[in-house]
């Protein structure tokens, strides 16, 4: 199993009571609640936290893309990945945006990712997403064309990375006379591609296509949904004539580890509850605008996410469903090993800072997690692999 440190870079100083006056911490929460002086401190603090991942022994670090919200302050994640690419030397850097349908020129993404791949000498992992529904309000992009634009932009980017330029690209949404990427990506044929998703059937089928075999990442979902979607990926691969391995499957989950179960729950509670109740809060219309999902997927995801949308998620409830890992190192280790055995993911992306969690606790969490969860699991891995 590979271990990644995932950060959302939330606006930790959010006035939680004030944000309750709005429909959501997304799209319509006025940016008068954002203080740039605090932002200055937060960005530098969060970059420090991500940089710590290397000495702590993580395999990689992850940033992502969201717009116009307090939940994650990385609307332009390439800037953050660029900063990290020079301050780290060994870890992989996964950029788990970009939201392809949002841009009118996907070549900018091919360029940005190729630069990161060049600077890091091939430590870069490319994420492709559609963005969540709220993004379609913030960027005023038509959600009904989201799938079309995603597929077309993806094809354009992969061609830009792999075909000798200049070449013409003739699409419905994107048209170019001269695609000719300078720089070409460092990795050959191109950086690995990861597809974070919340369980859209179309996305799973598409990622599992034999011509792609992209790593599928399930984000912030109950364990039952995680198991279902990962099985769906394996089934889809098998139907399409190939065998998916644990390497093709990743799980992204917030996690808090402390000296004991009791301390962990006490320290995590206000921040975990703020994460689920405040930072993630949004009405279904904002999460799933019309056309963003097929009717069939829409019904499926609404059922899976129904719990997430209720604003009353207690720490106990999110721990129970496996949407949040919390406890002593032994407790968290056992859970991860149990889920890993049951579900078979090979990449674990833990978010060790969330919502309002302060720096000291985030660092303590990262340190205990790295030394007492990650390292023991790593040591046990050869034995696990042999047992298979």
């Amino acid at each position: 199993m590979q271990f990644f440190l995932f950060h959302l870079m939330p606006y930790a100083d959010l006035d939680l009571a004030a944000s309750d006056k709005y429909k959501s911490a997304w799209v319509t929460l006025p940016n008068s609640y954002y203080d740039p002086r605090k932002g200055h401190e937060l960005y530098n603090r969060y970059l420090d936290e991500l940089e710590m991942a290397e000495p702590l022994g993580f395999d990689g670090i992850c940033v992502n893309e969201h717009h116009s919200n307090a939940y994650g302050l990385m609307p332009q994640p390439g800037v953050l990945a660029g900063a990290l690419s020079r301050r780290t030397k060994k870890v992989k850097i996964a950029l788990l945006g970009r939201a392809l349908p949002l841009v009118n020129n996907p070549v900018t993404i091919a360029e940005e990712f190729a630069i990161l791949d060049n600077i890091t000498g091939g430590r870069f992992i490319a994420g492709f997403v559609r963005g969540i529904g709220a993004e379609y309000f913030s960027w005023n992009v038509n959600p009904a064309f989201s799938h079309e634009r995603f597929h077309e932009a993806h094809d354009l980017i992969i061609q830009a990375w792999t075909k000798t330029g200049p070449f013409a690209f003739e699409g419905k949404h994107y048209n170019f006379n001269y695609v000719n990427l300078w720089p070409r990506p460092f990795q050959n044929p191109h950086p690995p591609v990861w597809i974070p998703s919340q369980g859209s059937t179309e996305t799973i089928e598409w990622a599992a296509h034999p011509s792609r075999r992209y790593t599928y990442l399930q984000t912030f979902s109950p364990v039952a949904a995680l198991a279902k979607y990962m099985q769906q990926y394996r089934d889809s691969a098998e139907r399409q004539g190939w065998q998916a391995t644990s390497d093709h499957l990743g799980w992204s989950v917030p996690c808090y580890v402390a000296e004991t179960d009791e301390i962990a729950m006490r320290e995590a509670r206000p921040h975990a509850e703020a994460f689920y109740q405040k930072f993630l809060r949004m009405p279904p219309e904002m999460l799933l605008p019309p056309g963003y999902l097929s009717l069939q997927s829409m019904q499926g995801v609404l059922r899976a996410k129904a719990q997430m949308q209720s604003g009353e998620k207690s720490l106990e409830a999110v721990m129970e469903s496996g949407m949040f890992l919390c406890g002593s190192a032994a407790t968290v280790r056992d859970k991860i090993l149990h889920f890993q055995k049951e579900i078979g993911f090979g990449k674990l992306l833990t978010m060790l800072q969330f919502a309002t969690l302060p720096h000291e606790l985030a660092v303590k969490n990262m340190t205990i997690y790295a030394n007492e969860v990650m390292e023991p699991i790593r040591k046990a891995q050869p034995a696990l692999a042999a047992a298979k």
């Binding site: 379609y136 309000f137 992009v141 038509n142 279904p284 009717l295």
Partner: protein
């Protein structure tokens, strides 16, 4: 209430659901974002004076979703083919909300089969500084409450049972509406440029308390279309045909009867 004939026709490769009743001059009714899957009282009333034809737009209700449908211009060209295929002449074209936008786009392209135009709380033009409300951020319940001025009427509608078929159609209608009208939101800059070419007797109807497309848009249409008459319904939201049904029908009858 007279029962309409409900049937399907294929136009431009799209299986299209049609309700039709009455006799006299043809009145083609183009529905808005909420669709027109049921024969409504105002339709029955109009059928006493007209041959009332109510299609469900491609991508709405029981009609197919054709692969050519990307924007309101496609919809307008579809209806030009529709009128030609059924040889409709001297048509009184009535469009509400997004249907008014489609009607305007039809008339700008080719008004040879049209006699008169009625635009009801119509989308299609922009009024800077007065954006339409964001209907896509409204839940189905909020939508119903916000579209009617008479809150009691909205609550009565919300209390009615919704069948799974109704609910599927509502989701489908929203998807097609987004496809056509998300960005630019509910207008077409090209229509703004060319709507002045429209040369038809035109009646613009609006509800004073329209919460989706504010009543200021009625004036925008009056300015854009030469000779257009405007009638505003008091105590009325975005759906005058539904909320002020008798007044709405009377306005159309009178307008159609004028030389």
């Amino acid at each position: 209430m007279s029962e309409p004939k409900i049937y399907f026709e294929t136009v431009e490769g799209c299986k299209t659901s049609i309700m039709r009743a009455g006799s006299g001059a043809p009145l083609l009714f183009l529905h808005g974002a909420n669709g027109a899957s049921r024969w409504a009282p105002f339709m029955a009333e109009l059928a006493k004076s007209f041959d009332v034809i109510v299609p469900e737009h491609p991508g709405f209700g029981r009609s197919d979703m054709p692969d050519w449908l990307d924007n309101v211009g496609d919809m307008a060209n579809f209806y030009l083919s529709f009128m030609k295929q059924f040889d409709l002449k001297d048509v009184t074209l009535v469009g509400t909300s997004m249907g008014g936008w489609i009607a305007s786009e039809i008339a700008v392209r080719d008004q040879s089969r049209l006699r008169k135009l009625v635009l009801v709380a119509s989308a299609g033009l922009r009024l800077k500084g007065v954006p339409p409300a964001d209907l896509f951020l409204w839940s189905q319940e909020e939508l119903t409450r916000n579209l009617f001025h008479d809150k009691a009427l909205a609550e009565r509608l919300l209390a009615m049972p919704v069948s799974p078929e109704d609910s599927d159609i509502a989701v489908r209608n929203r998807v097609t509406t987004a496809r056509l009208a998300w960005n630019p939101r509910l207008y077409n800059p090209d229509l703004e440029k060319w709507i002045h070419r429209l040369d038809l007797p035109t009646l613009v109807l609006w509800g004073r308390q329209d919460a989706l497309l504010p009543v200021a848009y009625a004036e925008r249409f009056r300015e854009a279309i030469k000779g257009a008459k405007v009638q505003i319904f008091e105590d009325c939201g975005h759906l005058p045909h539904s909320e002020k049904s008798p007044e709405f029908v009377a306005a159309i009858r009178q307008f159609a009867g004028e030389a």
